[in-house]
């Protein structure tokens, strides 16, 4: 497919602005740019066609099953889009006088009320623009808390080895040393390993529950108690909240602060990689450290406001009954799919899972030579977006599946059938799978070449 620059024709244009109705003002020559930027010259027809062609090469949730573990690719309701497009929200300046934006205040207060109730927190900020950004904000609450107490020896943040890469990266961004603790064989926190590293230098623990292998850690109250006893605080990574929202509250598990991924759990669309919203909630003791005028700030203005509107619309729709219904069916669907696939591929943990489960293909790879990557690439030929690959790091040849609650049984049965087909195919024609995909937009890209010889823009 051609790049937009390769479709440019000199003189082609759209007509957007009228002639200037006031006197032109010239910039002093020494402030003026030399050459004009080389932007494409296209008519509106050509722009429309180009982006239609691009759009055909994008796989959205509307296209098919998207079981990406840890990403919660649930259906994105259209009403959320409609509400976020209202001029009463889009046309509002972030620095408009408070009395002219009562609607914005009400929307944010209502979203805060719902999310604090669901998470068991006392206060919340919507300033962070993404999950990792929320993590940064949450750990800064912990840092400010200890600094305010003059407790400067707390230099360590504990992170399980199953954690998402953003967790240790966030801790480092906040000046902490990261202490990785190995997970127990059952995938959960190894209590002995945790006790061994807790001490006067513990600032806090970062944890996801259910964890990144989709299991609810039944020792969670003991874990948070131990950290508090050592004088540390507990941070909840809310990426997996879809398993427990309305059923269990992070606040009741003993967490002091949390971040949420509104673009996962609360159904706002992923947009191809953003914008999301990483709301951060906390217990009252940490509330003074949330972003404020004479405190911290993590981005300009108030956060990704329109994304919050989408999440608010979703929350109002689901309400008291719909929130736990979504979580329970997310867990039901995951267990059902795991049980259907269990006959072929091997779940990493042979037990009831939460909203996602991990397949361990290491034995399968030894027997057939076909890797998790090969299976994922062959799935593309079947119109299914592959599951998350090679995460978490504690499972080898991992494929992590999260169906979410918005899928029907029929879809899950079809998906299991496709997995069964691929399981058989690996035995009869592994070569085919090594070279997959065969019917996609492109064949496997040469990523090594891309990194070795970076071409990061078009050259005219």
């Amino acid at each position: 497919m051609k790049l937009i620059f390769e479709k440019s024709t000199a003189g082609h244009r759209c007509s957007i602005l009228p002639a200037c109705d006031v006197e032109e003002v010239a910039l002093p020559a020494e402030l003026a740019r030399g050459e004009a930027p080389k932007l494409p010259e296209l008519s509106e027809t050509e722009i429309s066609r180009h982006y239609t062609e691009l759009n055909k090469r994008v796989h959205g949730v509307n296209c098919g099953f998207y079981p990406l573990g840890s990403c919660t690719m649930k259906y994105n309701p259209r009403i959320d889009e409609g509400m976020a497009a209202l001029p009463g929200f889009t046309a509002v300046h972030p620095l408009a006088p408070a009395h002219t934006v009562e609607g914005c205040k009400e929307a944010l207060d209502t979203a805060k009320q719902y999310l604090c109730e669901i998470t068991g927190m006392d206060d919340m900020t919507f300033q962070p623009a993404a999950g990792a950004h929320g993590e940064f904000t949450g750990v800064l609450l912990i840092k400010q808390y200890h600094d305010a107490r003059g407790d400067s020896k707390r230099r360590k943040i504990i992170v399980p080895d199953s954690a998402h890469g953003t967790n240790p990266a966030t801790a480092a961004m906040c000046g902490y040393d990261v202490v990785n603790i190995p997970s127990a064989p059952n995938g959960c926190v190894d209590l002995e390993a945790l006790k061994a590293v807790l001490g006067e230098d513990t600032a806090g623990l970062m944890l996801t529950n259910p964890n990144t292998v989709g299991i609810f850690d039944e020792n969670i109250l003991e874990i948070t108690r131990l950290v508090h006893e050592a004088g540390g605080l507990c941070y909840y990574d809310g990426a997996n909240l879809n398993a427990v929202m309305g059923v269990v509250r992070p606040g009741d598990m003993g967490f002091d602060c949390i971040h949420l991924n509104l673009h996962k759990t609360f159904a706002t669309p992923h947009g191809g990689g953003g914008p999301g919203s990483g709301a951060v909630g906390c217990k009252a003791a940490l509330a003074p450290y949330l972003p404020k005028e004479d405190g911290i700030r993590v981005r300009s203005f108030h956060g990704n406001f329109l994304v919050v509107i989408k999440a608010l619309t979703y929350l109002l729709t689901l309400g008291k009954e719909g929130v736990p219904e979504a979580a329970k069916n997310a867990v039901l669907n995951a267990n059902y799919l795991q049980s259907k696939i269990r006959g072929t591929f091997t779940p990493a943990f042979d037990r009831l899972c939460m909203h996602e489960f991990v397949l361990d293909l290491s034995e399968f790879k030894k027997e057939t030579g076909v890797s998790a990557l090969d299976v994922a690439k062959t799935l593309i030929d079947h119109g299914m977006h592959p599951p998350t690959m090679y995460f978490p790091l504690i499972v080898h040849e991992a494929l992590m599946l999260e169906p979410t609650e918005t899928e029907s049984r029929e879809t899950l049965d079809e998906a299991a059938e496709i997995f069964r087909k691929l399981y058989e195919l690996a035995k009869t024609d592994p070569e085919y799978m090594h070279a997959a995909p065969h019917h996609a937009q492109i064949g496997r890209p040469d990523e090594v070449r891309a990194a070795r010889n970076p071409i990061l823009r078009y050259s005219f």
Binding site: R13, V22, V25, L27, A32, R33, A36, K38, L39, P40, L42, Y51, N55, R57, G60, C63, G88, F89, V92, L95, T100, E106, A130, G131, H133, E135, K143, G165, A169, A172, C174, G246, V247, V248, R249, D252, G272, I296, V298, R299, F301, G303, F305, L312, T313, G319, K320, V323, A326, V331, N333, L352, K377, H385, E405, P437, R449, A450, L456, R457
Partner: protein
């Protein structure tokens, strides 16, 4: 109750039975009873049908004022957004797709980001751009981090930068334990003498915003020379529309160019989602945080796009990563790309020229009123600060006429005009100010 769960209660019971279970509580067997919420335990209103939700949220939107004339900028600009720029990002696939980790089924997103990266490079004159970060303020903070090394850890920032940018950079510095020093402002611009004195051998970078928070144009090229002579790196925060006519950060010697991309097709939206762009020279390419899309070939030798240079990123380097940033603002970057393609170089130049012309017209007309003066003497682009008596009354009177006047700042009122506002609207605003001050 509103729901997006396709299955009926009886279908759900069938699935439970297929698992050998009889209740949802059994699915959550390992959850201790003291933390398990029974049905109805959540203290929230019941869910609503779509029609009810629509009424409820629309009512909230209805409580916000939609001004017909906006003369306020200060980091969020009311430019005209072409219809096609509004429409294309609503296409379901662009809207709902995940990050393009599986290149074989995401060429549309990867290519659109590659095109965006190219266009940002053209606009700024720089060599390499990333796929975007959250906004202009975080881009400034990430740029400051990228410039630090073992010897040079201090960040300098102009006091004439946007207060939110300064506060954000300060917060990020607090995180890593690095020092931020603010260079004082003189006559609405960075005090160059003070800057010279503060450029010590421990300084990693100096950030200047161009045009600055007060709308004034800084001596960007002279600053660049000064910064480089002191051995530090030069970071410029730019307004992308102004780059239609203004000297580029490249031409001013910037090592890193960042900025707020909201003017490139994103509505005001009460502050977000916005778009942070970050670009740099070939030399510093590998220090850029965040996602970057690169070109390669596929197994058949055909041109293809992939997420590249991922060894810099958090999922590989974990605690050794230079930033924890995981996502970009893909849909906003797509929007910016469509805006730049729709307006073209000529259109952006025209939007810049008209914004500047209308702002100067407004400034001239306001200053013709007795008691109104420009606060600062320097050249400005599309924003300027005036001093006047009865400022509060003036803004109230404008508000009554459905006009959002300039922002009250230290030193006066910060006004903004873009290509979207007509001469008639400007004249109406000036008349009202005249009346109040008469």
């Amino acid at each position: 109750m509103g729901s997006f769960v396709p299955s009926t209660p009886s279908e759900q019971q069938e699935l439970l039975r297929a698992l050998g279970l009889s209740s949802f509580r059994e699915l959550y067997g390992v959850v201790p009873q003291e933390m398990y919420l029974e049905d109805g335990a959540l203290n929230l209103p019941s869910g609503l049908s779509e029609l009810e939700v629509s009424r409820s949220v629309s009512a909230m939107a209805g409580k916000n004022r939609i001004f017909s004339t906006i003369l306020r900028g200060a980091g969020a600009y009311d430019h005209y957004i072409p219809s096609i720029v509004k429409y294309i990002p609503t296409k379901e696939e662009f809207l709902t797709a995940y990050t393009p980790y599986q290149a074989e089924m995401s060429q549309g997103i990867l290519q659109s980001i590659f095109e965006y990266q190219t266009m940002i490079c053209e606009l700024t004159g720089m060599d390499v751009s990333n796929a975007s970060v959250y906004d202009g303020a975080t881009a400034a903070a990430e740029a400051a981090a990228m410039c630090r090394d073992r010897k040079r850890r201090v960040t300098l920032i102009s006091g004439a930068a946007h207060p939110d940018t300064i506060q954000t950079v300060r917060t990020y510095c607090y995180g890593t334990g690095d020092e931020l020093r603010v260079v004082p402002v003189k006559d609405g611009k960075t005090d160059l003498e003070a800057l010279k004195e503060m450029l010590s051998s421990e300084v990693a970078s100096f950030y200047v915003q161009q045009p600055n928070y007060y709308g004034v144009l800084e001596d960007a090229e002279a600053i660049g020379a000064m910064v480089h002579e002191a051995g530090a790196m030069y970071v410029m925060g730019c307004n992308p529309i102004s780059l239609g006519i203004l000297k580029t950060p490249r031409e001013c010697g910037a090592d890193v160019a960042v900025g707020e991309g909201q003017p490139l097709g994103m509505p005001l939206s009460y502050g977000g989602p916005y778009l942070g762009f970050m670009c740099t020279t070939q030399k510093h390419m590998r220090k850029l945080p965040g996602r970057i899309v690169g070109e390669t070939v596929d197994s058949k030798g055909e041109r293809a796009y992939v997420l590249s240079l991922q060894a810099r990123e958090q999922h590989i380097r974990r605690e050794k990563a230079s930033s924890n940033i995981c996502s970009n603002q893909a849909l906003c970057a797509l929007t910016a790309g469509i805006y730049m393609a729709t307006m073209g170089a000529d259109g952006i130049k025209e939007a810049a020229k008209q914004s500047m012309a209308k702002a100067h017209y407004l400034a001239k007309s306001l200053c013709a009123i007795e008691g109104v003066e420009l606060a600062y003497s320097g050249e400005f682009f599309h924003e300027f600060v005036t001093t006047m008596p009865k400022a509060e009354e003036v803004l109230k009177a404008l508000e009554a006429a459905d006009i959002l006047g300039g922002l009250p700042v230290e030193g006066g009122i910060l006004w903004c005009a873009t290509e979207k506002v007509s001469k008639a609207q400007l004249d109406q605003a000036v008349e009202i100010v005249k009346e109040v001050l008469a």
